[in-house]
């Protein structure tokens, strides 16, 4: 029996086997590779998009200032111009407006779920809303197209295809996202906060407003920012209802376009390497940069949350 060996013979590590069949080491190699791949993928996306996106400026000789500030978009004219402000404005308008609409609604619903009817909220609302987070965006677009656009056309005016339709569709889309994330943020608050406030005789509303909301602010902001990330990146649902005209909208009822919709529509029928194609990559690069910004914002808020 090996128990006759001394401890120094039983328990001291033998020199490392160089065999290929060392599961401990092979496992480590596999998981490190996977983790490393995420970095490679991110770098690849960044490098490839930057490389193509910047071509607009150094190969197609588009003036960056004009690109970002001009609304003059006429790539197929004799003297083509590439002012992309319309699309940048469209994306920002849709994103900000939907955030303004959704933030109070989503946070309000999250408060209902966590503070007012926690058991019902957990059993019924939470699963329902999580299901809605997963509904494909083309479905939201399709409903927008078949219900919302005709409704706006008949009841409000215009052709129905409009900035307003885009904002409403995106709002409905990101509402479940913001609601679940807000509910998570509120659920993370220690229960002591609630009980100590109630023990001081505060009503539920006072507890929510003076104690819970201030404590949850970083988490709630994160929820809204992640909603905005989804809004600014959404392509097909908006494309289906916004009208896709290359004009700055004069009102909410005018059609317009966003960065994602112009990419969706034009990527297929522009020639690779042409100036008109290059600007689409530039718009993609801008979207990527915005993603980075939003991730940084979320991380910043996350760091604050720990304090």
């Amino acid at each position: 029996m090996e128990t006759n060996l001394r401890a120094s013979e039983r328990l001291v590590r033998k020199s490392r086997k160089l065999s290929l069949k060392n599961p401990e080491r092979n496992g480590k190699i596999v998981v490190y590779t996977a983790a490393f791949l995420t970095v490679v993928a991110t770098l690849a996306v960044t490098v490839f998009l930057a490389q193509r996106g910047l071509q607009s400026f150094y190969m197609s000789d588009i003036n960056p200032l004009e690109f970002f500030t001009s609304t003059n978009w006429n790539p197929s004219g004799d003297n083509p111009t590439y002012g992309a402000l319309i699309f940048i404005f469209g994306s920002l308008a849709v994103t900000l407006a939907s955030a303004v609409i959704v933030a109070p609604l989503g946070i309000g619903a999250a408060i209902f779920m966590t503070e007012i009817a926690p058991s019902w909220g957990k059993k019924v609302l939470q699963p329902v809303i999580e299901i809605l987070v997963g509904i494909p965006s083309v479905i939201y677009g399709y409903i927008g197209l078949t219900v919302l656009v005709p409704f706006i056309r008949e009841q409000v005016g215009g052709s129905g295809y409009s900035l307003m339709a885009g904002i409403v569709v995106v709002s409905v889309m990101i509402l479940p996202t913001v609601t679940t994330l807000s509910a998570d943020a509120l659920n993370r608050l220690p229960n002591g906060l609630r009980s100590s406030s109630y023990a001081l005789g505060a009503t539920r509303w006072q507890t929510i407003r003076r104690v819970l909301l201030p404590a949850a602010i970083p988490g709630l902001l994160t929820a809204v920012i992640l909603g905005m990330a989804r809004a600014i990146g959404e392509a097909l649902a908006i494309q289906m209802v916004i009208g896709n005209t290359e004009l700055l909208p004069g009102s909410l009822l005018d059609p317009t376009a966003t960065m994602t919709t112009i990419i969706t529509l034009n990527m297929g029928h522009t020639t690779f390497g042409s100036a008109e194609n290059n600007v689409l990559w530039t718009l993609g690069l801008i979207l990527l940069a915005i993603s980075y910004l939003l991730v940084m914002a979320v991380r910043f808020l996350g760091a604050r949350r720990k304090i």
Binding site: M1, T3, R6, A7, S8, R10, L11, V12, R13, K14
Partner: protein
């Protein structure tokens, strides 16, 4: 069953000298010396945070992964210092088994809780595995209670039964030493009594180190008792003597419930 025949002359299982343990800047164990005898139950007592669990977990190197953990000094075991870097922790933990405060059976059937570790250590024969399930469950007095439902989840057992299953699981891979970290503190008095009874039976074959909060428990089962206080060993002596006639003032205060 392996009752290990090591040379009779070696009576000491662990010889601890000048042990210091740190978590980052905080010192958890402060220069302790301790000698633990073979085939005895040694109880480690003391108030929470006194370092007894830290010491226990440094014997089988379970603290290695804790960030900032650092141990210096000597834990002599047979002919090696367990704190040296080149210890094969896998072989070490196989030889020095551990049972934790909260029963932690695997979420599998009762039988698999025994067969899985055996398979992990290379036993494949079906016959041997079934045989070992019975042997080890008998050893902890669980066989008659569960023989008809070996395939049901370990979580269908009561807390006390789960803890005995965990002891059987630790025993099945033939350790020499059993480290028990407050094994009965989550259990009711009847289950506790069963565990204590079991430990008294096991000590003929194993060296047992028992961390406990419960002074009566130490008095009931331990051969010798070491009193830890603020990272130091205040007194280590024969259990009877410790409880009837402690040498140190602090031991006396602790036993009589003046602090801790």
């Amino acid at each position: 069953m392996v009752t290990v025949a090591l040379p009779e002359t070696i009576e000491t299982a662990f010889d601890v000298q000048g042990l210091n343990i740190f978590y980052g800047a905080k010192q958890a164990i402060n220069d302790i010396d301790l000698s633990i005898k073979k085939h005895e139950i040694t109880a480690l007592i003391g108030p929470s945070g006194c370092g007894k669990s830290t010491f226990l977990r440094s014997i089988n190197r379970m603290n290695d992964d804790v960030p900032g953990f650092r141990a210096e000094g000597l834990i002599q075991y047979d002919d090696i210092n367990l704190l040296t870097d080149n210890i094969d922790t896998v072989a070490l933990r196989k030889e020095i088994g551990m049972v934790f405060q909260n029963p932690n059976p695997f979420p599998k059937s009762i039988a698999k809780n025994i067969t899985q570790p055996l398979k992990e250590h290379g036993i494949r024969s079906k016959r041997k595995l079934t045989e070992q399930v019975e042997t080890n469950l008998r050893r902890v007095g669980l066989w008659d209670e569960v023989r008809d439902r070996l395939d049901t989840s370990a979580y269908s057992l009561s807390g006390g039964q789960q803890q005995r299953l965990c002891i059987a699981r630790a025993l099945c891979i033939h350790p020499e030493v059993l480290l028990l970290d407050e094994p009965a503190s989550a259990l009711d008095p009847i289950a506790t009594a069963k565990i204590e009874d079991l430990l008294l039976h096991l000590k003929d074959h194993y060296t047992i180190i028992l961390v406990t909060h419960n002074l009566q428990q130490a008095a009931r089962v331990a051969d010798s008792t070491a009193f830890f206080y603020q990272g130091e060993v205040v007194e280590h002596t024969d259990t009877e003597q410790f409880f009837s006639n402690p040498k140190e003032k602090r031991s006396e205060d602790y036993i009589s419930g003046r602090f801790g």
